[in-house]
């Protein structure tokens, strides 16, 4: 049964992405695209002629997608949380390498920003994992899900995690990595056709990755987890519609001054 979920993880993420586009459209009082729009986009990209800059560049996108998928496998199988975070880091570094491997200036700026985003959210994810360890006595997801009451013992860690979600799913105010009007997609810029599709699908997997961290806060009760995920999803989209993009340096300052402090205060409280 669990393998079915793993195999359909990109489809699940695609539905989340499609639902999000509809939700954002409704928040702006417009009709918006159909729910299955991400899949239409994927099928269309399969039908396009593909332009390749050089083959390692294309290969890195494919590798990025599959390693990301493997980290989702690790989440669904209930493996070690630290292992999952570092697998995700590895996938992200492949994408950054791809960004630096072409001559496009926008791609280089995008890769720089992607690195700075990595520096911003990675410590928070690790501190959240440490918080789970202190509460449940294990880094294993299967053991973390045996206990409950994480939300009452580490609310500040949850707030910090909620602050880094927009970075990961590339939403305002922290969408510097993609920044469509400014650097035209950053590291994605030189991809087309089927290789762009791998990056497009890895965005679906990012949704599952980051929202599964939110789900962990529900602990043993999957109802609480589901409600938390839905609530965070709504809040992130509301903030996305209501705010403008901040600069990369400001993003780092905000995350390091506020989210990091929240994490440290909460962990000090637990200790």
């Amino acid at each position: 049964m669990i393998w079915v979920w793993i195999a359909f993880a990109p489809i699940l993420g695609g539905l989340a992405y499609g639902g999000e586009r509809v939700l954002r459209a409704r928040m702006q009082r417009r009709q918006g695209p159909p729910l299955l729009q991400p899949f239409y986009d994927m099928f269309k990209l399969l039908d396009k002629r593909t332009l390749i800059v050089h083959s390692p560049h294309a290969l890195l996108a494919v590798a990025h997608f599959f390693i990301l998928w493997f980290s989702i496998v690790a989440i669904f199988m209930g493996w070690n949380l630290l292992y999952i975070i570092f697998l995700h880091l590895f996938a992200q570094i492949l994408l950054i390498l791809a960004g630096y491997s072409v001559r496009s200036v926008y791609s280089h700026i995008g890769a720089n920003r992607e690195l700075l985003m990595l520096i911003a959210y990675e410590p928070i994810l690790l501190l959240v994992a440490v918080g789970f360890y202190l509460e449940s006595g294990s880094f294993e997801i299967s053991e973390i899900l045996q206990k409950g009451g994480y939300l009452t013992s580490m609310p500040l860690l949850f707030a910090a995690l909620a602050m880094v979600i927009p970075i990961k799913v590339k939403k305002s105010p922290f969408d510097v990595g993609e920044a469509h009007q400014e650097i035209v997609g950053g590291v994605e810029i030189e991809y087309s056709g089927i290789f762009y599709e791998f990056l497009y699908m890895s965005r679906f997997l990012e949704y599952i990755f980051i929202y599964s961290f939110v789900f962990l806060f529900g602990g043993v009760s999957s109802w609480v987890g589901t409600v938390l995920v839905a609530g965070t999803f709504l809040a992130v989209n509301l903030v996305d519609n209501a705010t403008a993009r901040v600069k990369t340096a400001d993003m780092l300052k905000i995350i390091y001054s506020i989210a990091m402090m929240l994490c440290i205060v909460n962990i000090a409280g637990i200790l």
Binding site: R29, R30, D47, K48, R49, H180, G185, E188
Partner: protein
């Protein structure tokens, strides 16, 4: 593949280029993409990246400085692709027709599939033109289409198309 061709119609991604327009048509295009007219309900995304686009929306009468960019952007869009000329200037030259610094419309340089009249073209007309362009897009094959001028022969390396060599040729033309 035949199965996937049906989905071209459902997700047209748009590239918008201003070839010396007065910004009237550009504002109307942005209005069509905005919440009131909501082009996104057809699955349209304004990508701004030629390599990921299907529909090329051009405004303006093609000034001398914008010719090379127009041709280069067009040749960077992977096939199948559709060109929509938005506004009187782009279709015929409009009020600028016959002036020394413009080229009287884009169809001297690249093949155009849909023409939109109007100065400035209204958002309703632009939506109609895009929907018309979708039919053209669905019927097209993946044959290489190339511009009429500033382009020359198709460059191949082995049995693969070399866009770099073709782009270099456009650059060479620009220098002369």
């Amino acid at each position: 593949m035949k199965f996937f061709s049906a989905f071209r119609k459902k997700s047209p991604w748009v590239l918008h280029y201003n070839a010396g327009s007065c910004n009237g048509c550009d504002i109307e295009i942005l209005a069509a993409l905005g919440p009131k007219f909501d082009l996104e309900r057809f699955g349209v995304i304004n990508t701004g990246n030629p390599k990921q686009s299907d529909i090329f929306l051009v405004t303006g009468p093609v000034t001398y400085r914008s010719r090379e960019r127009l041709v280069e952007l067009y040749s960077q869009i992977p096939e199948p692709k559709v060109v929509v000329a938005v506004g009187s200037c782009t279709t015929t030259g409009g009020v600028f027709r016959g002036m020394y610094n413009v080229e009287d419309g884009i169809d001297r340089y690249i093949p155009v599939d849909v023409y939109v009249p109007g100065c400035a073209a209204s958002p309703q007309l632009i939506i109609d033109a895009l929907v018309k362009g979708l039919d053209v897009l669905e019927a097209k094959s993946k044959e290489i289409e190339h511009p009429f001028k500033l382009f020359g022969t198709i460059e191949m390396i082995g049995n693969k198309l070399s866009r770099l060599n073709m782009a270099k040729k456009v650059e060479q033309h620009e220098k002369n």
